[in-house]
Amino acid sequence: MKFKKEKNTKKSSKNLYYNFSFLIVVVILYIVLFFLKPDKLINSLYASWDIFVSIIPVLILVIFLMGISNYLLKPKKVLKYLGKKSGFKGWFLAALFGILSHGSIYIWYPLLKDLKEHGMRTGLVAVFLYNRAIKIPLLPIMIFYFGIYFVTILCIYMIVASIPQGKIIEIIEDKYIGRRGENV
């Protein structure tokens, strides 16, 4: 438990280090621009400020929805409902849990591995991962940029596309296992 906590802390500080490194690189670019074209630096800052101000309300809404999603969905709940022989319900739930899941994808890899070892269909793992692309808390910002029609159509197509993806992966895996007599 203590080891796991230490590992998570290490990972999050590594992420933070990476995130700040990126910001520092961008700041360096601005400093370089200051010496080369100072007038363009001011314009770039104005352009950035305009973008930032326009997305503030949506960002606040995103934080709120992330909190709600954290409260309602826990990885253990997913484990409870995604067993083997789940049939159509399994495909539906894999897609639903993928949509509702939150946090970094790394959190979910070990759980999915665990579920796979306990008989979860490989196709369902793929469906879960593909549907993670649809993030309910982030929909407001997506709608802000692309409009509600676009977002609705894209989400529907993504959910639909995840099913053949899962099926194809399952077919290939089954063929491979059949040929090699291997247990994946």
Binding site: L16, I68, Y106, F150, P164
Partner: protein
């Protein structure tokens, strides 16, 4: 008494959930600020001419390039929406932007080693290749449907 206890636990759980959300958002904030500053830099310094030389308006070419860029880049999906939205304002086609935001979250070249080591090399490779191909189809289908409906 029991109800009161449940209530306190529930309140603590809500507080923890929101704390986690703020913390997770806070971690992504430096990248978000960096991206916004970078877009500001691009908006002023990169001409529309250069962008339109990469994205020519040809459906398949644009969608393919959008998918390629989205596959290589990674991070919070919000970042992809902001970049996508700004690219759209610069005149990049919706096909390319849709493919870009779709592969940003479905294909993970950066996460591939982690995915392969935990879920298996074959699975990770198949999933990412299929996600890439499907993103192109999803982008084309989405934009064409949008054009028909609106």
């Amino acid at each position: 008494m029991v109800d009161k206890k449940v209530n306190i636990t529930d309140k603590a759980s809500i507080a923890t959930s929101f704390y986690k959300a703020i913390k997770s958002f806070g971690t992504a904030l430096p990248v978000l600020i960096g991206v916004i500053l970078l877009i500001g830099l691009f908006k002023v310094n990169i001409s529309s001419k250069l962008i339109s030389s990469i994205f020519t308006g040809e459906i398949f070419r644009d969608t393919f390039f959008g998918s390629m860029i989205g596959s290589v880049l990674a991070g919070n999906p919000v970042t992809s929406y902001i970049i996508g939205g700004e690219l759209l304002k610069e005149g990049v086609s919706l096909f390319a932007v849709t493919a870009f935001i779709t592969t940003w979250v479905t294909v993970g070249l950066i996460q591939l080693p982690a995915e392969a080591s935990i879920l298996g090399k074959r699975f990770a490779l198949m999933r990412n290749v299929l996600s890439f191909l499907l993103s192109i189809l999803v982008a084309i289908a989405t934009v064409l449907t949008l054009k028909v409906l609106t």
